[in-house]
Symmetry: C7
Subunit: 103 residues, 7 copies
């Protein structure tokens, strides 16, 4: 097998999965509103860079994913699979692990 190029543009999530770029800890939130300190160690905010086709229903149809590329989201600590591409951190989440859109 030839070398696999893992890059943001070529990674396509499957099913109900969402590919999220983790927000760096040094990116302070605006407006004087801060995440608690422990959030700097375990980021819970990120930006969606790709979404899967949605979970397949029992009848073969799909439940379209409700978030879209570009959405900033809050997600469950400990959820998903961490992936590092170069110096950037990403996480592959199931849609259900996304708690809220934050902007």
């Amino acid at each position: 097998m030839a070398a696999v190029t893992l890059s943001v543009s070529t990674l396509k999530p499957l099913g109900d999965r969402v590919f999220v770029k983790v927000s760096a800890a040094e990116e302070k939130t605006a407006g004087g509103i801060l995440l608690p300190d422990n959030a700097k160690e375990k980021p819970q905010v990120g930006e969606i860079v790709a979404v899967g086709p949605g979970k397949r229903n029992d009848d073969g149809s799909r439940s379209e994913i409700e978030v879209k590329e570009g959405d900033k989201v809050l997600y469950s600590k400990y959820a998903g699979t961490d992936i590092k591409l170069g110096t950037d951190e990403y996480v592959l989440l199931s849609e259900k692990d996304i708690l809220a859109i934050v902007s």
Copy 2:
């Protein structure tokens, strides 16, 4: 990614989630009725500030959330995800973790 502004007005819960402002411990309940002492350490009362669109059913419809913005609610201790915005504490709960409306 630009800095994310986490604020009450921009945070939109997904699915069956409800965004709740935790009632401060020093806010004594009125009418001579008090929560037990341990409730001051682990608040279980809060006010809803935003609700999600509701859980998607298997047929694509949604189960509308039964509580609404402004409701004071009693919720399960230990449920949900704690979020701190400035000095205020919030919690993102699933609707099913809300036990009762208290006013």
Copy 3:
């Protein structure tokens, strides 16, 4: 948020939940029939003071709750969430945790 008044009359259970006033241990049962001693430490008998609208079914209808305000009930030890209002103890139970009507 203004102070929340937790009182029996304003607390409305959600879903399939039932609000129950715990029977005080000193209230001996009538007719020479007694609960075992350990029941005095962990009451399992109470009177229903409010019932929720019932569990929502998948098709949007509700399964009406089978017990009603005023029913004396026997419920599972360890079930539900304990709430103290003044000197009285209450418990918020799911309907399924109620074992039997006792009078």
Copy 4:
């Protein structure tokens, strides 16, 4: 709340529950057939004294309970909730914990 009278005649099981009078250990089984010794310490045989209305189905109908008052039954050790009324022992079981009718 007035004193609750717990008695066999007023206790009405809910849902798929069955109210069973535990067979006293000294009641030897007839015909030279005996339960193993440990059954005397943890009775598994009893007589049904009341049955609930049956489990509610998803469509609102009920699955009628298959055992009836007067049936002698064998039930799972450890199942249900033990209740003592005077000197008699009872157990509130789910119908599914009843293994067999024994007479």
Copy 5:
């Protein structure tokens, strides 16, 4: 309650349960084929003496039990509830714990 007569002929399994007479360890299998040694300590072969009416389906019909009285069966070690009647050992199994018919 009068004494309960536990006997093979009067015990009627409920639901999907099957009443099985455990094969005594000294009953060597025929044809030079033996069960492993540890099978003598924890028998896994038996003969069906009674079957229940079958598991009730959601629509009220029943899934008839596939084994019948007289079948010799192999069943899961550790499954079911052991019952001793006189010197004979029996086990009450769920149909799903029966692995195979052995003759």
Copy 6:
């Protein structure tokens, strides 16, 4: 009960179960392709000798088993119930524990 003859020809799996003769460790795989060493201690390859009628569906029909007698299969280590007939080892597996057909 007469002695039970446990033999390959008379053992009929029930439901979705499959009866598999475990491949002896000394049977090296052909073509220079070997299983890892630990496979010799815990065989994961076998040949199907009998299949059950298939899992019964909720509507009473059956999901026919996809493997058939004679298939060589790879199955989950630790799955199923081990049975020894004479010097041969067998395993009773659920169809879902079979990972692949290997020839």
Copy 7:
């Protein structure tokens, strides 16, 4: 039973299983993008060499597998069953354990 030939060409996954050739650690990813170091010890990238027929639905139809032979995929660490054929490592995965297509 004759010797079983385990080879890539003859191994046919069942159900929703996918047969994946694990990407060797020395195959650096192209474009300056690297997997984190620990990925070298526990590979999570591979190339699909065979797919099963898909999971059978309750009505007998099948949910076709969404990935195909030749796809490079990212899969859950710890998922599936490891198989070694000669010096190559393979893994048998359930489709749901595949997180994304990576090229």
